[in-house]
Amino acid sequence: MVTTLADDGGLTLSDEMLAEQIARREVSALETLYARHGRALFSLAAKMLDDRHAAEEIVQETFLKLWQRPETYVPARGRLLSWLLGVTHNRAVDRLRRRRLELRHNTESAVVDLAGGPPDPLDEVLAGMRGEAVARALRTLPDAQRRAVELAYLRGLTHVEIAVALGEPLVTVKTRLRLAMQKLRACAEIADLRPDQC
């Protein structure tokens, strides 16, 4: 039996159940999944690329990857939404890096403003964040750690590029990224525990 969006609006099916249906080539499951998460993926890609058209392409590529190679998502390894966001992020980073390469080839100046852009997009994340614990942790990261995460996650810079952009030693940048992610991870994991856990 095929479950369609019209049948249950996708409300009764978990993401992982939808992934199973997609693996069985049920188009309606893909439709439901897009209705559920398409906006989140588009928001991330649009924020990273500042280009709606490119964001549309990446969202399409992400859903089609799941459709064409459903075996690449393994439920035991994490949430489907995390996987979708990871694919979207990875593809957006690829585009950002290609853009920078083209910019280097097309500009007479050898210097590209790696760290340019809005002053602090993470503020926007904090304002709308669903993961309360991670939002709190992001707020309290030292500025240098928060800046390193922003340049890596939102601008798609490698740690070498971050070191160049900030004029700091590579080892310092690596340490900041590691410390920041350890803190965020700790908060995310604690948030996942049941309220009666501690």
Binding site: S43, F63, L64, L85, L179, L184, A188, Q197
Partner: protein, 259 residues
Amino acid sequence: MLTHDEVRELLPALSLDAVDLDERDVMEHHLARCDACAGELRAYQETAATIGEGFAPAEPPVDLGRRILAAATARGSSPSPTPIRRRGMAAGAAWILRFVAALAVVLAVGALLWASSLQQQLQAQRAVAASNEERAQRYDRVVGVLQADQLYVRPLAGTDAAPRGSGRVYVDQSSGLGMMMVTGLPPLSEARSYQLWVVTNDGQRTSCGLVRRTDDQGNGYTLIQAPVPVSEWQQFGVTEEPATGSPGPTGARILGGSI
């Protein structure tokens, strides 16, 4: 070639897609053979995804979903394309009549149920609010530790008694306040707990805190107060002990780590 420890140090950067392509290739080669690093990377990737979920929503074009479905089906990957159920024009009128009749019944019953459900919702929301307040207080305590400028972080690895177990110890070196997180530990009975010990340079084992409960994945944490300065620490250990803890370790060593 990167060593295990070097790969482990780079996992947070990899989860942010912040490593070079060459590094990524080497790391993926290692990850394919190292379950511990692969598991740790997945945890960092979940964290990175939490950041990605947080942006203010931007509305995609209204036809993007339709285009994705069209591309999926056009690529011939569906042997028997599954249409979204549509009804023909001839059946439409009868279907609408049945729908209107059913809707009238549903509305009548719904109105009766609505009032009682509102009361239940109010009670449920009060409970959620109280739970959220309690969680917020716990997060504040944890964040207080994590925002320390001199945060000291060390991993704990499972022993033969808990091969799937692992954990981390976080300590603010200036205040000695910290926490321990564990995962993959065997389930605890009500009468037992996991106790963290720090071994100092003189061989003394001193209790730092107790994990009294874990969830069904063996996850748990506890806030700790370092009994002696971090500079004097040599090793950590976690043992299973009675629920209220022991003055010295008596149970099997479950997790361990060195400085």
